[in-house]
Symmetry: D2
Subunit: 257 residues, 4 copies
Amino acid sequence: MKSGIKVTVWNEFRHEKKNEAVKRVYPDGMHKVIAAGIEKLGGVAARTATLDEPEHGLTDAVLKETDVLIWWGHAAHSEVKDEIVKKVQKRVLEGMGLIVLHSGHFSKIFKALMGTNCSLKWREVAEKERLWNVAPAHPITQGIGDYIELPNTEMYGERFDIPEPDELIFISWFEGGEVFRSGCCWNRGHGRVFYFRPGHETYPIYHNQQIIKVIYNACKWAAPRIFIEDKCPNINTPLEKIAPKSADFGKAGIVQG
Amino acid sequence: MKSGIKVTVWNEFRHEKKNEAVKRVYPDGMHKVIAAGIEKLGGVAARTATLDEPEHGLTDAVLKETDVLIWWGHAAHSEVKDEIVKKVQKRVLEGMGLIVLHSGHFSKIFKALMGTNCSLKWREVAEKERLWNVAPAHPITQGIGDYIELPNTEMYGERFDIPEPDELIFISWFEGGEVFRSGCCWNRGHGRVFYFRPGHETYPIYHNQQIIKVIYNACKWAAPRIFIEDKCPNINTPLEKIAPKSADFGKAGIVQG
Amino acid sequence: MKSGIKVTVWNEFRHEKKNEAVKRVYPDGMHKVIAAGIEKLGGVAARTATLDEPEHGLTDAVLKETDVLIWWGHAAHSEVKDEIVKKVQKRVLEGMGLIVLHSGHFSKIFKALMGTNCSLKWREVAEKERLWNVAPAHPITQGIGDYIELPNTEMYGERFDIPEPDELIFISWFEGGEVFRSGCCWNRGHGRVFYFRPGHETYPIYHNQQIIKVIYNACKWAAPRIFIEDKCPNINTPLEKIAPKSADFGKAGIVQG
Amino acid sequence: MKSGIKVTVWNEFRHEKKNEAVKRVYPDGMHKVIAAGIEKLGGVAARTATLDEPEHGLTDAVLKETDVLIWWGHAAHSEVKDEIVKKVQKRVLEGMGLIVLHSGHFSKIFKALMGTNCSLKWREVAEKERLWNVAPAHPITQGIGDYIELPNTEMYGERFDIPEPDELIFISWFEGGEVFRSGCCWNRGHGRVFYFRPGHETYPIYHNQQIIKVIYNACKWAAPRIFIEDKCPNINTPLEKIAPKSADFGKAGIVQG
C-alpha cells in the first residue's frame, strides 16, 4: 500500500479521448502524467478520478481518503453534478487541500469557493510565457528559480476576477503583452486552495518537470494538518456569569415590556 | 424624487408579522426602521424589499437602480430563490455594494460570496456586547468612538467560518466570555461586501443610533464607483508581435508534429 | 487661498539642477510638473518641498497642513535626515496619506513604513512598459482603461521585497521580459500608503496625463478622514467588574505567594 | 550536539535579577523556562541570549546559527543597540523566523518590521483572559482547543497599532471588558513573524503548557525553508529582444532630443 500524502488527481478526461492531437500529448490522460510525476518526487500517494466514472470518481470513500485534490476541467464544467461539487466544497472547508489547474478557473468548485466569476482574458497563439516567482521563500516555490519559462502556451490575461489572494506567488509575463496572477493561495474554511495557471490539453505543459515540481510542492503545502467538521452550535451555558437582566430578553420572541 | 446613494433594504419580514413580541419592536418591519434611519443622516435614498413580494422585491429594475443592498434574513433563508440569489451575486460582482446584517451570515447570498460555511457559535441570554473599533480611521467607523455598547444581545462567538477579511474593523466582547469578528470588509468582483453582526428580531438593535450610523457609513463606503459587466474575452490579436512558432500550436487541438 | 485636499509634492530635486538632459525634461523640477498636473484636475491644493530647503521643506507646520505627501527621491536618499523621516512616519501613522513614486522605493520613509528591504531588479534600456489595471473598480484606477502604455521606461522587475500589498492594483509588463507589482496599497497606522512605479528623471513620465490621473486619484484615495495621535494608555479602571483575585497579582512586581 | 530547529530565546533579563517577586516566578530568567519548555516537546534545539551579554548575545555567529528567534523585552527596549536591531531585521528578511512575545510589542525589532507604532491599551489588575482560537487548522494552533484560559494576566486592549495581520489566529477576551488580537502572523521579506500576546514578568504565563505549546508550534511554523540574501541587481541584458528605440533613452541622463 502506498504511503504519504493522499492525492487524488481529477481530470475531465474528454479531450484525450476525442482528439487525436491531445491523445498524442497525453495518451492515457493528463491525470496519469500528473499523478506519476508527483509520485516520483516521493512522499505522495496519488490516485486518479475522472468525470465519466460513477460519481465522477469522487465517492464519499474517495473524498474521505483524500488529503489533496487536484482539479483539471475545461469543456465539460457544466456536466459536473452540483451534489458532487457540494461534497468537494464541504471537504475543502473541513481541511482537504485543493489545487485548481489552468482552465479549472471556470470549474464549479473553484467558482463556489471563490464566490466570484473567475473570468479572464485568453488567447491561443502558442506564445511564450514566463512565470515569475514573487515568493521565493514560500513552500510552493522551493526548488524553482527566479522563473519558469514555457515556450508555447495559451495566454490568460488580467483582469482575473478572483478575491485578492492571501498569497500571490507567481506572476506571468506573456509574449503578446499581457500579465497574469498565475499562482494564488487562499485559505477557505479549514482547507487551503492553490490556483496554478499552467496547463492545456495540446501544449505538453504537464511534461515539464518544473511545473510538476510546483504541483508537488503545492500538495505538500495544502495537505491538511487536521479535518474539522462544520457546526453552528448553540452554546447555552456561558463561560462567564451573566448579570441578571431587567427583562426576559433571552427567551426567543419575548421582548422587554 | 429622492437623490443620493440608492439603497435597497431587504428584509425577510416574517418575524414581524407572526410574532407579537417582534411586532412591538418593529411594527412595520425592521427594514422600515433601517431605511428611515439611514435616510435621516442624509445623502441616501432608501427603498425596501421583502421576501414575500414578487421576485422577493428584487426585480431586475430594482437591482439596476440599487447602489447598495442591505440584507437581513433569518428563518427563511431557504425560501430565497436561487435565481434571485444568482442575480444579486452577479450585481455585487459588477459593483453593487452589499451589507449583510446579523443572522444574514447564513443567507444564501453571503455564503455564495464567501465560499465558506459562515457558521459560528450562538447563545440567547440577553447578554451585554461591546463592539471594539479596531480601525478608527476607516470610513465605516467615522463618528463612532472607541466602542459601541449594547446592553442586551444574542451572542455570536468564534470561530466564524469566513475568509480572512480584507479589513477587520470591529471585534465584539461578550459578557458570557466569547469574542467575534463583528465588522468585516471584503472586495468581491467589483463590489464591496460588509458584514455587520449587530441585530436581532427582539432586541431593539436597529433603534440604536450608533448602529444606524455604522450602517449608513457602510452604505457610503460600499457605494460603487463604477459598474462593470463580467466578460471572459478571447483577445485574438496580441498587443505585441508574436515570434513565429515552430508548429501550429495556436490552433486548437493541433500539437507539434 | 487654495482649497481642497492639501498635497505636498516632495522631490529630491538634484538631477534637475545638475544634469542638462534632466533639465530639458523637467526645467523647474518634476515636483512642479506633478503639482501643476494634479491641481489642474481640481479639488487639490498642491505645494512643493525639496531636499535642500531647511528641514527638507517638511517643517512641522507644513506636515500639519498636509493631507497627502507625494515622495520622489533617488540619488540622495541617505541625505534625508532621520529626524525628518521620523516626523513624516509619525504623521502617516496619524492619518496623512503617502504616495511613493518610482525610485522612492528605496527612500528611508518607504522602507521605514514597510519594514522590508524594498529591493528589486532594474535595467535602463528605454524599454516599453504596460501597466495592467487589475482593480478597475478601485478609486485609484477610475478613468484609466485596461492598461497604461509607456513607450520608454526604466525596468523594475520582481521580486520586489515588500509586504504583501493590502490591494494590488497595477501589474507591469516589460518589453524585456519582466513583470512588476507597480501599484500597491497599504494601510499603516491611520494612514494610507500607495506605491506607484512609473517615473524617472530622464523619461518624461510625469508629462503623461494618465500617470498624473493615477497620482491624482491616489491623492483622493489617501486623503485622511481623521487624524489620530498615537497613545499607549494605561486604562486603570476596567469597564467591567473584576472578580476578586486570590493574591495581589495586580501590583507590579508582586506575585502569588 | 543538539539537532532540530535552531531556536534562540532572547530575554531582556533584568526584572528577574532585580525584583524578588519576578525571581520567584523565573529564578533563572524566563528565557530558560521557555527554552526548556519548547525543547522538551522535541525537534528543537534552543539556546538563549540576553541584553547584558556582549552584542546582547546576538553575534553574527549566533544569528547565522538561528532559525527562529524568540524575543521578550520590556523595560529596556531603548538599550538594545540599533546596530543589533538592524542585523536581526536583516536576518529576518533573509528568512529567519521571529516570535515576539507580550511586551515585545514595543521592542525596536518589532516596530522596525511592522513600520507602525505598535501601541495598545493596558491594565494590570490580574484579570482573567481567554484567547480564542480563530484559526483551528493553522499550524500554530495544533493541539490547542477552542481557547486558552489564563486566570491572571495583564490586559492589552485594542486598538493595537499594527498592519492588518496576514493571518489572525488568536483573539483575546478580557474580564475587564476589552478584546485584543493576540496571535498575529506576518510575512516580512523571506521571514515569518509571529506576535503572541501572553506573558509577563510576574504572572507565571510561561509555566503554562498551552502557552509553551503555541510558542513551540510557532517555532516550527516560522522555521525557514531557505535563506536568501538581499540584492537589488542591475539586469543589463534583457531576457527578450528590445525593439530599437528612437533615441538613446537607455543611457543615464540622456533624453530624447
